[in-house]
C-alpha cells in the first residue's frame, strides 16, 4: 500500500512537470501583434480593423514598423485601425487562409510567382484603380511595377528591392592586402588565399531555409548566362538547355565543389551565423542578398559598422555590363478580394510606396525596406552606418535598373515549379545529377507553366 502511494505521488509529479514543460514550449508558437491589445478596439471605439500579416520579425523591427507605419496611420484618421500580426509561418498561413476565402486585408506574399495563381483564382483584388488614384505607375520602377501585373492588371507591389552582391569585411581585406574585387578572377584569387589561410572563402548557408539555394542559381544566371539569355528563356524564345545557361549552372557547381560557398558547412549556417563569421573575421566575404543588411545590424555595431562593405558581384561573362544587378524583391503586398476595407488597404500600401517611408524605415531597419521608387528625393543625410551603406546600395541598384542593367531573381520572375527546380540546384552541386539533366527537367516544367500562363511579365534588359 505504501509502495502504491509512493507511485501515485511520483505519477502526479511526473504529470505536472510534463504539463509544465509542454505549456512552456507551446508559448513559443504564439504569434505577436503590433497592436498593443491585438484588437480593433484598442482606443479606437467604432473603428474598422485593417489587418496585415507579416513574417516573424525580431522585436526591435516590430517596434520600428509600429512606430513608422502603424501608429502614424492610426493617428492620421479615425475610421480605421491597422493591426499587424507577426507570424513565423506567414507564407503557409496566407496560402491556407486565401484558399479558404479568408485571410488578412493586406496580403503579404513571396512575389509575383506567388501572386499569379491567387490573382487568376480571384482571391486578390485588382489594384488598377488604386494605382491610378495614387500615381504608382509614375513613381514605381517600371520593371518592378510590371512584375506585379497579371494579364495587364496590377495585383501586387513589392515592399522592397532585393539584389545579390558581395558583403565584405573591410578590416579583413586591409589586413591581408586585398582590394575589393571587380573581376571574377580577382574574387576567386582572394577566396583561394583565404581558404589556404584556414578561413572560409565566403560564408553563407541554407540552414532552416532551403530556398537560399536560389540566390546562387540567380547569381550565376545573371552574371554567367547574362540577362538577355535568361530573358529569352523566360519568354520561351531560348531553351533552358542552351549552352550559356548550362555553363552558368556548371559554374555554380564548380563554386560549391571548390568550397567557395562555405564548403560543407553550407547546410549548417543560416544568415545570422554567416554574418557573425564575417564580423569575426573568419571570412573575407558573404555573398548574398541585400536583405542581409538587417541581420548585419546585430554584429556590425557602433564603430564596427564602418567595417561592412557591399559591392556588386563581378561578371563571369566579361562581355556583360558592369555593374550588373540581379533584380528581385523581398515580398509583395496585395489586397484581399474578400476584404471589406479595400480603400483603407490601398491607402496603407500607398503610404509604404514612398521614398520617405524608405528612408524612415531604413534609418532603423536597414535591409528590408528598399521601396522600389524611381528615385529618392527626400533628405537622407541623417542616415549613418549600415543604414547609409544600404541606402547607397539601393541607390546604385535603382540607377542600374533605370539603365536596364539587371538580371532576374528566380523568386521574383520564375513561375513556381520552375523556381522550385532552381531551388533544387544542389543536386548538380553535389553531383547526384548533371547540369544538362537538371535543365532538361527545367525545360519540361517551364514549358508546362508557360502554356498555363503562369510566367509573370518579364521586363526586357538593356541590349
Amino acid at each position: 500500500m505504501q509502495r502504491f502511494k509512493h507511485l501515485r505521488h511520483s505519477l502526479w509529479f511526473v504529470t505536472l512537470l510534463l504539463l509544465g514543460v509542454t505549456a512552456l514550449s507551446a508559448c513559443a508558437a504564439a504569434p505577436d501583434a503590433a497592436s498593443p491589445s491585438g484588437s480593433a478596439d484598442a482606443g479606437g471605439g467604432e473603428r474598422q480593423t485593417v489587418t496585415m500579416w507579416f513574417w516573424g520579425a525580431p522585436p526591435e523591427h516590430q517596434e520600428t514598423m509600429k512606430a513608422v507605419l502603424v501608429d502614424p496611420y492610426n493617428a492620421s484618421q479615425s475610421e480605421y485601425e491597422l493591426v499587424v500580426e507577426f507570424r513565423n509561418t506567414v507564407d503557409k498561413d496566407i496560402s491556407v487562409a486565401l484558399a479558404a476565402g479568408e485571410g488578412p486585408d493586406i496580403v503579404y506574399g513571396s512575389g509575383p510567382s506567388f501572386v499569379a495563381p491567387y490573382a487568376t483564382a480571384g482571391k486578390l483584388e485588382n489594384m488598377d484603380a488604386c494605382s491610378a488614384a495614387n500615381g504608382w505607375q509614375d513613381r514605381i520602377l517600371q520593371p518592378i511595377y510590371e512584375s506585379g501585373t497579371v494579364n495587364g492588371s496590377l495585383y501586387s507591389l513589392p515592399n522592397s528591392l532585393n539584389t545579390l552582391g558581395i558583403f565584405y569585411n573591410k578590416a579583413v581585406l586591409e589586413e591581408n592586402g586585398w582590394t575589393p574585387p571587380t573581376t571574377i578572377e580577382e574574387l576567386e584569387a582572394i577566396m583561394d588565399e583565404a581558404m589556404a589561410q584556414g578561413m572560409y572563402a565566403s560564408v553563407t548557408g541554407n540552414k532552416g531555409w532551403k530556398p537560399v539555394n536560389e540566390n546562387y542559381a540567380s547569381l550565376f544566371l545573371t552574371h554567367a548566362a547574362g540577362p538577355q539569355a535568361v530573358h529569352d528563356a523566360l519568354t520561351g524564345e531560348l531553351a533552358w538547355t542552351s549552352p550559356e545557361i548550362q555553363a552558368a549552372v556548371e559554374k555554380s557547381a564548380e563554386w560549391y565543389q571548390k568550397g567557395y560557398l562555405a564548403g560543407e558547412d553550407y547546410v549548417n549556417l543560416n544568415f545570422n551565423d554567416a554574418v557573425q563569421l564575417l564580423a569575426d573575421g573568419r571570412s573575407p566575404f558573404f555573398i548574398g542578398p541585400t536583405l542581409v543588411f538587417q541581420f548585419a545590424t546585430q554584429f556590425f555595431q557602433g564603430e564596427d559598422a564602418a567595417n561592412l562593405g557591399f559591392i556588386p558581384f563581378p561578371n563571369v561573362n566579361e562581355e556583360l555590363a558592369y555593374p550588373l544587378y540581379t533584380l528581385g524583391t523581398t515580398a509583395s503586398l496585395s489586397i484581399n478580394a474578400n476584404s471589406d476595407v479595400k480603400d483603407a488597404a490601398c491607402a496603407i500600401i500607398d503610404r509604404m510606396m514612398t521614398d520617405q517611408f524608405l528612408v524612415d524605415m531604413t534609418a532603423r531597419w536597414p535591409g528590408y525596406w528598399g521601396v522600389p521608387v524611381k528615385e529618392i528625393n527626400v533628405d537622407s543625410s541623417q542616415l549613418t552606418g549600415l543604414s547609409a551603406e544600404y541606402l547607397s546600395a539601393i541607390a546604385d541598384i535603382m540607377a542600374a535598373i533605370n539603365s536596364g542593367n539587371f538580371g532576374y531573381f528566380t523568386a521574383t520572375f520564375f513561375p513556381p515549379a520552375t523556381q522550385q527546380e532552381f531551388i533544387n540546384i544542389d543536386t548538380v552541386w553535389l553531383g547526384t545529377e548533371s547540369a544538362s539533366d537538371m535543365l532538361e527537367r527545367v525545360e519540361t516544367v517551364f514549358t508546362e507553366e508557360l502554356n498555363a500562363n503562369l510566367v509573370p511579365p518579364i521586363p526586357a534588359p538593356a541590349q
Binding site: 507511485l7 496560402s95 522550385q420
Partner: protein
C-alpha cells in the same frame, strides 16, 4: 430498439470521425485525379495524370526509398534501445520514475525546440559540438551536409526524441507480466535472458506488435524533423514522401499531385493497420 440506442450512442464519434477523417480523405482521393492548384475554382479531371507524373519523377522514388530506410531504422534502433532500457529499469526499485521522466523529456518538447537544440548545440560549426571538435583540431565533417550521412543525422535526432517514449510504453507493459510466472521461472533456474525470452517477451508481445505498427505508420508520415533540419536536402538526400508532397502543395501549387503522393503514403499506413487488425483478430480467435 436496443441496437438503435447503440447507434445513437455511436453517432458523436462517427460524426467527428467523418468530418475530420473520412470527408477530407475522400476529397484528397478525388483531388488526386484533378489538376487543382489549391486556390482556383476551376478543377479539371485528369484521370491518372498525377500518378503518372509522380511515378516518372526520380524525386518520388528517392523519397519512397528514404521512407523505407527510415522505417527500417525506426523498427530497429529505438526499439532495441527502448526495450533494453525498459528491462534495465524493471529491475530498479529506486528512481525508476525519475529515469522515465528524463527519458521522456525530449518526447514532450515541441519538434522545433528539439530541432533547434540539435542545430545549435550539436551541428553548429560555430557554437556546437562540431565547432568545438574542430577547434581542438579534429577534422569533423558536417553530418547534415553530406548526402551519405544526412539521413542518418536527421534520424538520430528523431530517434533521440522518440526512444524514451518506447521505454515508458515497454516498461508499463513489462510490469503487467504476472509475477508468479516470473518467480516460477526463476525458481526453475532460468537465467535473466531466459526469463525475458520465455516469460516477459510473450507477455508484452501484443504491445510490441502494436508499437511496430504505429512506428511503420508514423515512419511513412514523418515530416517535422526532416523539414526543420534539412528541408529534404541536401540534393534530396533526406527527401521524404511528406516533404515532397508539401513542396508540391505549398511551393509549386500542384495540389493534385500532392494529393496523389498523400494517397501513396496512406496506402502504406493502411497496409500496416490492416496487418495489425488481422493479427489482433487471429489473437482473439486463438
Amino acid at each position: 430498439m436496443k441496437s438503435f440506442r447503440y447507434y445513437i450512442l455511436l453517432l458523436p464519434a462517427l460524426l467527428l470521425s467523418m468530418s475530420v477523417v473520412l470527408i477530407p480523405g475522400l476529397l484528397t482521393a478525388y483531388i488526386s485525379f484533378t489538376d487543382w492548384n489549391g486556390v482556383s475554382p476551376q478543377i479539371n479531371w485528369i484521370g491518372l495524370g498525377n500518378f503518372r507524373a509522380i511515378f516518372a519523377d526520380n524525386v518520388f522514388w528517392k523519397a519512397l526509398g528514404n521512407n523505407i530506410r527510415w522505417t527500417i531504422l525506426f523498427v530497429t534502433v529505438p526499439v532495441f534501445i527502448g526495450m533494453l532500457s525498459a528491462v534495465l529499469l524493471l529491475g530498479r526499485r529506486i528512481n525508476a520514475t525519475l529515469y522515465q521522466l528524463i527519458y521522456l523529456f525530449p518526447y514532450v518538447l515541441a519538434p522545433i525546440t528539439n530541432a533547434l537544440l540539435w542545430l545549435n548545440i550539436i551541428f553548429n560549426p560555430l557554437t556546437g559540438v562540431i565547432g568545438f571538435l574542430r577547434k581542438i583540431g579534429l577534422n569533423v565533417p558536417a553530418p547534415l551536409g553530406n548526402i551519405n550521412t544526412a539521413l542518418y543525422a536527421v534520424a538520430a535526432v528523431d530517434i533521440w526524441h522518440y526512444w524514451g517514449f518506447l521505454t515508458v510504453v515497454y516498461l508499463a507493459s513489462l510490469r503487467q507480466t504476472p509475477m508468479d510466472q516470473v518467480e516460477a521461472a526463476q525458481a526453475e533456474g532460468a537465467n535473466g535472458w531466459q526469463v525475458f525470452r520465455y516469460v516477459y517477451f510473450p507477455s508484452i508481445l501484443p504491445t510490441v506488435l502494436l508499437m511496430y505498427v504505429m512506428i511503420i505508420i508514423f515512419s511513412f508520415l514523418t515530416f517535422d524533423y526532416v523539414y526543420l533540419l534539412t528541408g529534404g536536402g541536401p540534393a534530396h538526400a533526406t527527401e521524404m514522401l511528406s516533404t515532397y508532397a508539401y513542396t508540391l502543395g505549398f511551393s509549386t501549387f500542384q495540389v493534385g499531385r500532392a494529393s496523389a503522393v498523400g494517397l501513396v503514403m496512406s496506402m502504406f499506413g493502411l497496409i500496416a493497420a490492416a496487418f495489425y487488425t488481422w493479427l489482433s483478430r487471429r489473437e482473439i480467435t486463438e
